[in-house]
Structure formats: C-alpha cells, structure tokens
C-alpha cells in the first residue's frame, strides 16, 4: 500500500474527474493541509507522557500475570481431566465384567423398596426376606438330598406354597 507521501493525488483524482478538475482538487487538498500544518496543536505534557509510560508498565505486568494465571488454570484443568480419566480407566479395569452382577443384584430388589424413602424400614424388610429365602433354600436342599426320611411330597408342597406366598409379599413390598 502506498503511503501518503508516495501516492500521486492527481492520478487518483483523474480516476473520477477530468484533468483540470483533478488539478484543482489536488490544489484544494494541498492548501487545506497547509493550513493545518500552520496551526500545530501543543505537544502533550511531559508529565502526561511519563504517567502513560508508567501505566503501560502496569498494564504489561497485568497482562503477563493474566497470561500466567491462564496457563496455570489451563494446566490445572488438564491435570484434573487426566486424573479423572485415569481413575475411571482404573475403575473399569478393576471391575471388569462385574456390571452384569450389579444389574442382576439391582433387579432382585422390589420396585416398592427401590422407590421407597423409608430406608430403615426397607432395610429390615430386606433382611427378613433374605433370611426367609435362605431358610427355604436350605429346606429345599435338604429335601433334594432326602434328609427328612420320608418321600418329601408333603413338605415339597408346603414349601411351594410358602414360596408363592413369599414371592407375592416380596413384590408387594
């Protein structure tokens, strides 16, 4: 880009005006600028310049501090992200295929208990239900092994009835 001193004003004006008008326009501009040159404004006060320079030093320091803070903040964010990712990865590796077990365990809990907010009562219910299930499981095992001495048909029927009852109670919550 041409600077002011290098540009040819007449050539520029001739793009829009005829040669004579262009010459006059250049003359008007030169005269106008001469008037401005003949009326210079006062120079800025030396104290003002000194004050601006000290403000600049402060602004530069402020800018450097901000840049440093930004770098520290970004590093901290990146470090935190790395730690979180590492923790998640380790967790995934350690637990491995245990997700299906957790899903199965959750599915065994009745909806009424799952959605209930009475935690103490629910815990007691769960404990008694678990105990009953364990009792039935051991009875069933004893029957299968023929430990009762009889053929076990009456006991099996009784157990079946109990199981149905427990199952109903269990899912009612």
């Amino acid at each position: 880009m041409k600077s002011q001193n290098e540009e040819n004003l007449k050539e520029l004006f001739e793009g829009f005006l005829d040669s004579k008008e262009a010459e006059q326009a250049v003359e008007d501009i030169r005269e106008g600028e001469r008037i401005l040159r003949e009326h210079p404004v006062p120079e800025p006060d030396k104290k003002l310049i000194a004050s601006i320079k000290s403000e600049i030093v402060e602004a530069v320091l402020r800018k450097k501090t901000n840049v440093f803070r930004r770098i520290v903040f970004k590093s901290a964010v990146v470090a935190a992200a790395v730690v979180i990712l590492a923790a998640i990865s380790i967790g995934l590796f350690e637990k491995g295929g245990s997700d299906s077990e957790r899903v199965a365990a959750v599915s065994r809990i009745p909806a009424a208990i799952w959605e209930s907010e009475r935690l103490a009562d629910d815990d007691a219910d769960l404990a008694s239900l678990t105990a009953e299930i364990e009792q039935i499981e051991s009875d069933l095992l004893a029957l299968q092994l023929g430990e009762n001495g009889d053929n076990g048909s009456g006991a099996a029927a009784e157990l079946e009835m109990e199981l149905i009852e427990i199952n109903n109670d269990f899912w009612k919550g």
Binding site: M1, K2, S3, Q4, N5, E6, E7, L9, L12, F13, G15, F16, A25, D28, I29, E31, G32, E33, I35, L36, E38, H39, P40, V41, P42, E43, P44, D45, L48, I49, S51, I52, K53, E55, I56, V57, A59, V60, K63, K64
Partner: protein, 179 residues
C-alpha cells in the same frame, strides 16, 4: 526503509511484552495521536485521558496486529476510542458545554492565553463548523498520514467516496479560514 525495519523490531518487542518498546511507541506517536484527539475534542484534559486510554489499549491489543500499516491500525483504535467517548452521553454534554464556554471566552476576549494563540483558536472554531464526519476524516488524514487507499480501507468505503469527502471538507475549511 530503516525506519520501517526499526518499527517492525519495536512491534516485535511489544508483542513479547517489553515495556521499553511500548515506551518507544509512545515517543513516536503520542504527538500525532494527541493532536488527533485535541482537534476532535477541542479539550486538552479530555485529550490527555483519551491518549492514556489509547496506549493502555495498545498493550492489550498489540497481539492482534497482523502487519500492514501500523499507523493505520493505531489510528483505527484511536478512532474507536473517540467514538466510545462520543457515545458516553455525559461526556458528550461536557464536550458541548466546554466548546460553548470556549467560544464565549473567545468572544469576550477574557482568555489571555487564547488571545496569544488566535490562529490556533481560529482553526479550532472553524473546524467545529464542519460536520463531525468531515472533521474526523480531515484529522484522520492529517495525523495518521495514511494514504487515501488506507483511509478508504479503514473506513470500509470506496476510495472515490473518501477522496470526494476529504476534498470538499478541506476546501470548505480553507474558505472558512480565509473568509
């Protein structure tokens, strides 16, 4: 050429955050920027404030200078600062009051200092009679020393428009000064 290479080195220093380089820019451009603000506001105190604001802003913005005419870039920031100043209604009112006061002082001849600088005052008074846009254009051209091509680019208008407006403005100023 050596001057522009020096300027390039100074700007590089500024981008590295060297306060000394900014100081050199202050020495190089404070006079012209002050003149620009002074002619547009007609008030030395306001010009002082705007000049300080300009150089502090320069520290913040130097990273965004991507080459080309440094003067053009600097005066674009100066023009934005002046526009922000004008948008401030309170300050605008102060400016109008200040100008009114200046004119009254001149008419009554109470200000000895101004009487000493009658030529300077006359120019300021005549500049105030031009419309704001023309006055700003004349000052931008005179103090930034930008070419018409640069000015047209700064103002985002065709070069013919810039040429025409400046020509009419300077011609009118000359008539006012000689009349």
């Amino acid at each position: 050429m050596a001057k522009s290479e020096d300027l390039a080195q100074i700007i590089k220093g500024c981008k590295r955050g060297e306060a000394e380089c900014f100081s050199r820019l202050v020495d190089m451009y404070s006079g012209r920027c002050y003149g620009y603000f002074f002619r547009l506001t007609g008030n030395s105190e306001v010009s002082d404030d705007l000049l300080s604001e300009l150089f502090v802003k320069l520290v913040e913005k130097i990273g965004s200078f991507r080459g080309g005419s440094f003067e053009g870039w600097l005066f674009k920031i100066a023009a934005n600062i002046f526009h922000d100043y004008l948008r401030d209604k309170q300050r605008q009112r102060k400016l109008v009051d200040g100008r009114k006061e200046q004119l009254e002082l001149k008419l009554t001849g109470k200000d000895a200092k101004r009487a000493d600088n009658e030529g300077l005052e006359k120019l300021q008074v005549q500049l105030d009679r031009l419309d704001a846009e023309t006055r700003e254009l004349i000052m931008l051209r005179f103090y930034s020393q930008a070419s018409f091509k640069e000015m047209a680019a700064m103002r985002s208008e065709p070069i013919g428009t810039t040429l025409s407006k400046l020509h009419r403005g300077l011609k009118r100023l000359r008539e006012l000064m000689e009349g």
